[in-house]
Symmetry: C2
Subunit: 397 residues, 2 copies
Amino acid sequence: MIVEKYGGTSVADVDKIKAIAKHVADIKKRGHDIIVVASAMGKTTNKLIALAKEVGYATNDRELDSLLSTGEQQTVTLLAMAIEAQGVPAISLTGYQAGFITSNHHAHAHIKDIDITNIQKHLDDGKVVVVAGFQGATENGEITTLGRGGSDTTAVALAAKLGWNCYIYTDVDGVYTIDPRIYPQAKLLPEITYNEMMQMACLGSGVLETRCVEIASKYNLQLFLGRALETDLTKGTFIMEYKHIEDMPITGISVKDDYAIMRVRNIDNDGVFIGRLFQLIADLNVNIDTISQQEGEAGKVNFTFYCNSTQSDLIVNNYDEKEYGYPIERILGFCKISVVGVGISTHSGIASTILNTLTKNNIRYYQITSSEISVSLTIERHDKEKAVAVLAKAFDL
Amino acid sequence: MIVEKYGGTSVADVDKIKAIAKHVADIKKRGHDIIVVASAMGKTTNKLIALAKEVGYATNDRELDSLLSTGEQQTVTLLAMAIEAQGVPAISLTGYQAGFITSNHHAHAHIKDIDITNIQKHLDDGKVVVVAGFQGATENGEITTLGRGGSDTTAVALAAKLGWNCYIYTDVDGVYTIDPRIYPQAKLLPEITYNEMMQMACLGSGVLETRCVEIASKYNLQLFLGRALETDLTKGTFIMEYKHIEDMPITGISVKDDYAIMRVRNIDNDGVFIGRLFQLIADLNVNIDTISQQEGEAGKVNFTFYCNSTQSDLIVNNYDEKEYGYPIERILGFCKISVVGVGISTHSGIASTILNTLTKNNIRYYQITSSEISVSLTIERHDKEKAVAVLAKAFDL
């Protein structure tokens, strides 16, 4: 009994939909119960957003949700038809029909519950159930979408509710030790723990949203991530609670690009300015990290944090020096490299290996932060590829 | 308080949607309550049907309905956004959200009831309500479509439920005495009765489905048919119970193209063969008309009927001469011309004017049928334009 999820690139055209339909029908013919979750075809969502902007869409997320939900609805009906053409009964369900009851936070709703009555009925009737990803409805029947990673969340939440395993098919082979676009020699990981995957996701590896891994972890659900219709069964990554192979202390390196350092010097150490600055940052909905405070001149302090370059524009444009009393400095051109692995807390010397490796290769690092399973460093952007390469070699990634 | 309906060509692109939004917002700003019903943009429905066929759609109308319903859902969300961009609050509703409860006859569902609670709430909140045409849902939340003329039916049914007037905007100026593609000198009718309109619709004038006119007639609802965003207010046709102008006995001529004569000669007059033939015709879902029986040789009878050429193929391909005992003849190349007008029953000499006019112009006619408000004749197809022209002249159409 499995839930399979296919992303937009996997269902981008009729031939791909037919190939997936054949694969799904074969699984069903072998006697398995199967639920398929699908995203909108190819670039449909982006096209719909562009149309919305053209007609003057400003802030009405209620309408945008209803518009975008049509993308997945189209895919699942086509996929159900294609599965039936393979001689296997199938039915498509919108998020609403599939029982996804969500909060009313349009554009980023969260799932409150899944009423599986309808899905269960169709499974009992021997049908393949094809569920529109990314969407649900409030108790009042208002259509909502789940925001980033939405279709993955649909699949994982459904698998959790049913206690089934979940296979997420996409246009990558699985989780790599390092993003192959940065480091082509990176290795495909056969296994990764939930915690490592969450760290990798948080720290910039875009293959799976943290939210999905959280749900999988909470329900101890086996997740698989691989390429759609891959025939080489040794490919792909299982995401689970414990790895079978424990001899590798480091699982991977993740890179978050485009960092800016923001700094305010010599402020009074009474918390007043910091409180006001944090309020501004919260109002602007900017995510900052690696916050630190150092001693400045004459009992004053220097305050530093990092954020994404684009978001730093928001701060610079909304920070009024006269109002706050101190000038704010911004230095662009950084990135953050994180070494991730469950072995970090149990294997000694990981941090020193990282720092020694960088120093030996003349790579300057700035802030360092660490958690139980990760060590992160801010470095200059032009050092990115070199740093990744030397660390990958040091940890055999 | 008005219901306006815009067809697919009227909302075919972003500029048209914006222009309609401005028009609708202006009406709302002048203090009127308004509900807008919209079809899918341009050729969206045909494109979706083509996609369905490509993935192998055969007979699953349940899936096709869910697929096609996305077309109208996209239009209404975009239109609601565009109206809001004009500074007027608006909300889009799918057929389901608008309370359209239908039978479960997918692809040609009929409306069982409209629960207007949700629509009324949004109207009370001062919003323009934009309703997806052509669609509804069963009591179980299964998405259905209303079949031919579906969006017009949505608008008219809603107007009937609310007791409002209904304006149907399309890509024609209104109802003409004769289809202008056949007879360019045809006149635009300012008024037409429900009965005349139903005859015109039945007899081949494609501007409005009979079903819509039936509902309008039942609820004595004033229907208007005109071109979207037409600024000349003298244009367009009102469809109502009685015309204000009664001096014109004939309202128009409608033409049904592509007729075939089907004939079986010298059959036993015991009803057995006719019963079996009618069963075949019903099984094939073929619409036939102008059925007649004449005396044949030696106490036998000849049986004749007309049907659409394409549908006649179905009969020819499924009629097994050995099984039925008689050969069936088919003669292609006919069309049916109908002269329509409420004055036919009260003005004498209409039929003789028609027949004399045709005879004088050497146009041969075959079957003749008539009703209270129409006289129909089968003629050879090559005589079509000539017959229309001489009859139009005879009745000053």
